[in-house]
Structure formats: structure tokens, C-alpha cells
């Protein structure tokens, strides 16, 4: 019972701290978002805005994702080859 009360108090205190922190955060800046929404289609020619961001503006990030998948496949194949 004592443990339950203590954990409950801890959770409530943590929640209060987090809530206070969240309320201190300034609203997210919208300049980049507005730029993507308004100019994305004419700059990249892609109707799908998600595609225009992840292959147009942030293609380098996508290249990194591809490398991660490549390494994962290579790792699986090497480990399985060692098992046989």
C-alpha cells in the first residue's frame, strides 16, 4: 500500500513536471512548413507532397535509409551463411 502510494505520487510529480515543460515550449515555427505546402508542387513537380519532401528536398536522408536497408540485408545474409 505504501509502495503504491509512493509510486502514484512519483507519477503525478513527473506528470506535473512534464506538463509544465510542455507548456513552456514555444509554438513550432511554421515558415518551412508553409514553404513546402505552397511551393512544393511547383519546385519539385510532384503532386504528392510527401514524395516531394522525401525524394526532393530530403533525398539525401532517403539515401541514408537505403543504406540502412542494404546493410540489414547484407548482415542477414552474412549471419545465415556463417550458420550453414
Amino acid at each position: 500500500m505504501k509502495r503504491t502510494l509512493a509510486s502514484l505520487a512519483l507519477v503525478l510529480a513527473l506528470g506535473a513536471v512534464l506538463l509544465y515543460g510542455v507548456r513552456q515550449i514555444a509554438p513550432a515555427p511554421g515558415a518551412l512548413r508553409d514553404h513546402f505546402v505552397h511551393r512544393g508542387m511547383e519546385q519539385t513537380g510532384s503532386v504528392n507532397l510527401v514524395s516531394s519532401i522525401y525524394l526532393g528536398y530530403r533525398a539525401f536522408d532517403t539515401l541514408g535509409e537505403t543504406v540502412v536497408l542494404f546493410l540489414a540485408v547484407a548482415g542477414v545474409m552474412v549471419l545465415q551463411a556463417g550458420k550453414q
Partner: protein, 139 residues
């Protein structure tokens, strides 16, 4: 699993449509929700269904390991090459160097369309390779 007539027939009829849907998702990635990664995952799901219902050995006759693995590496190298071409032509690395075309058409958005095709090929063959290697021992 191989003794079940139902699983065998249904999966064989279903897989071409799954592969077709994957190709649709990849080629229309710049127009509608979807794209290279998602379409590639759907392609790999079709091949995985084939592996599970027919066995890996039969699937490998249609999709030889060597060819799948080669096309994965080739797709990755071609993505890198497209990035370097942008650099050579005086734009950014992975910058668009093709004409944008008319928005809404299937070959439009220049570079994004081709990058989607390559990433779709890369992800589809990559996940298929993982499935081949992981499922092969259970035979």
C-alpha cells in the same frame, strides 16, 4: 502446407495481382499515397507469399537468388549514380536534373519518378532476399 490445394491455388492466383499493385504504387508514388518504399514492401510481400505457399526452392526457380541480389546492388549503385549526375551537371548532390513535366502525369516530377522506381526495386529485392535467406533453412 504444400499439401493444401486451397492455399496453393489461391496464392498462385493472388501473387500476380499483388506484384501488379506493388508496381502501381511505385510508378504512381509522386501522385498518390505510396512510393518506392511502400511499393517495394508490397512486391516483397507477394514474393514472401509465394515462398510460404510454394516453398523457397520453387520460388528461387522464378526469382534466382543471384539475379535478385545483383539487381539490388545495381539499383543501389544507380541511385548513387543519379546523385552524382546531379553533381556533375552543376546542381546539388541528388538534385533534380530532369525537366519537371506536367504535374499529374505519370512520367512527371523529373527525378522523383525515376528515384521512386529505383528505390522500389531496391526495397523489393532487399526484403525478398532477407525472406529467401531466413525461410530457406526450414525446408
Amino acid at each position: 502446407m504444400k499439401d493444401s490445394e486451397l492455399v496453393d491455388i489461391v496464392s498462385r492466383k493472388l501473387v500476380p495481382f499483388i506484384l501488379l499493385f506493388g508496381c502501381y504504387l511505385i510508378s504512381h508514388g509522386h501522385l498518390s499515397p505510396g512510393g518506392g518504399f511502400q511499393g517495394g514492401a508490397v512486391l516483397a510481400a507477394g514474393i514472401t507469399l509465394l515462398c510460404l505457399s510454394r516453398g523457397v526452392k520453387d520460388t528461387l526457380r522464378t526469382f534466382p537468388m543471384r539475379r535478385v541480389s545483383l539487381s539490388e546492388s545495381a539499383a543501389f549503385l544507380m541511385i548513387l549514380a543519379m546523385g552524382v549526375i546531379g553533381l556533375v551537371l552543376g546542381r546539388r548532390f541528388l538534385g533534380n536534373f530532369l525537366p519537371l513535366g506536367e504535374p499529374g502525369q505519370v512520367p512527371s516530377a523529373g527525378f522523383i519518378f525515376f528515384l521512386n522506381l529505383l528505390i522500389g526495386l531496391k526495397v523489393g529485392t532487399g526484403i525478398s532476399l532477407v525472406m529467401f535467406t531466413l525461410l530457406r533453412e526450414d525446408e
